[in-house]
Symmetry: C2
Subunit: 220 residues, 2 copies
Amino acid sequence: MKLNFQLKNGKYGYKQGVAFQGNPVLSVYYDGADDMGIHLEMTGQGCRLFELHTSINWHELFYRLVYEYEVNITRLDVAIDDFVGYFKINSLVKKLKDNEVTSRFKKARHIENIVIEGGETIGHTLYFGSPSSDIQIRFYEKNVQMELDIDVWNRTEVQLRDLRAYVVAQVIADDVLPLGEIVAGILRNYIQFRIRRRQIKIKKMAFGSLLVELFGLCST
Amino acid sequence: MKLNFQLKNGKYGYKQGVAFQGNPVLSVYYDGADDMGIHLEMTGQGCRLFELHTSINWHELFYRLVYEYEVNITRLDVAIDDFVGYFKINSLVKKLKDNEVTSRFKKARHIENIVIEGGETIGHTLYFGSPSSDIQIRFYEKNVQMELDIDVWNRTEVQLRDLRAYVVAQVIADDVLPLGEIVAGILRNYIQFRIRRRQIKIKKMAFGSLLVELFGLCST
């Protein structure tokens, strides 16, 4: 298979780069300092492009990355997409304010967009952790963000860095758990939504049902 | 007066820079392409530093910048600080959701931080306009942002770019209006908060009283 990569500018301290089909969503950077090697970057769209043009699956890719190439993984985003509407993001916000959430995070950040004419709220995002921390968990309305005419598309996204990214990459490489279970496991470990101050397994149930909806696993 | 500037790295395409007393809040960048001249950057703290070390006031500085040096102003932030609590930022959010706001902006964005243990909301920010647009207006709780033990410190900040920044710089240079009136005028022009769907001059009243509280005028 001949792959079409086009030259582009460098980034992250690398002097040069190439983008697959000229599209920066799937790029490789090189020509940095002696110990910098090369840097592969794939956004969410880059992951879809990769799936289109290769026959290997994600498990196989991660196996090669972790065990054959022994790469250094600086960031890995894994996500669950919900097209059914198992929960509303605003109802998670309400649970937070009602003190019905237990978490390893100390603070959460809620962002809502308001249409001034009419006063309607059209998008909710809920963050746990800061963008630069080792782990950030984001709940957001992908349909609103992308201005799509779809009733429900809620994305639950876990952004991992460095050692945490590597550990999850290894679990994917080992193929011991389905991707959805990995994400659900991280979520259960970090955030528990309770009902009436008595902890029940709502989170587990919700994400258990969500596994079939698993859509994206991306390394960006 | 001998001013102490220390060398630092370049930025914005300028190869070199100096920082006043080695503090990057007040920096000058130079050695760019032939037509790039030099670039002065002052953050809010840089403005305070400037006030400490010079005898000229803001009107005089802007007069020189606009009419003598004929500079190109790419960004200018002007702000009103409220230590009294003329309004709560959350009550502005409520007005938006109750459809009691008229604005030249189409959308607003509300951000709130929630302490997970207890569910308390500890900081509200309200944005009109995007960070990259010609004008953005921000309402935020400065005491929360800076983790200060002050009951009330609400900042209303107008961030202007390019031509809009230049026009306001000219008004300051011409010294025809107090700074507070300039900011209040911009706010009245862009956002009107109404009571019970009947437009009254609440905004004008609130910001009129705020003029004495004027704290910062910054070019960053």
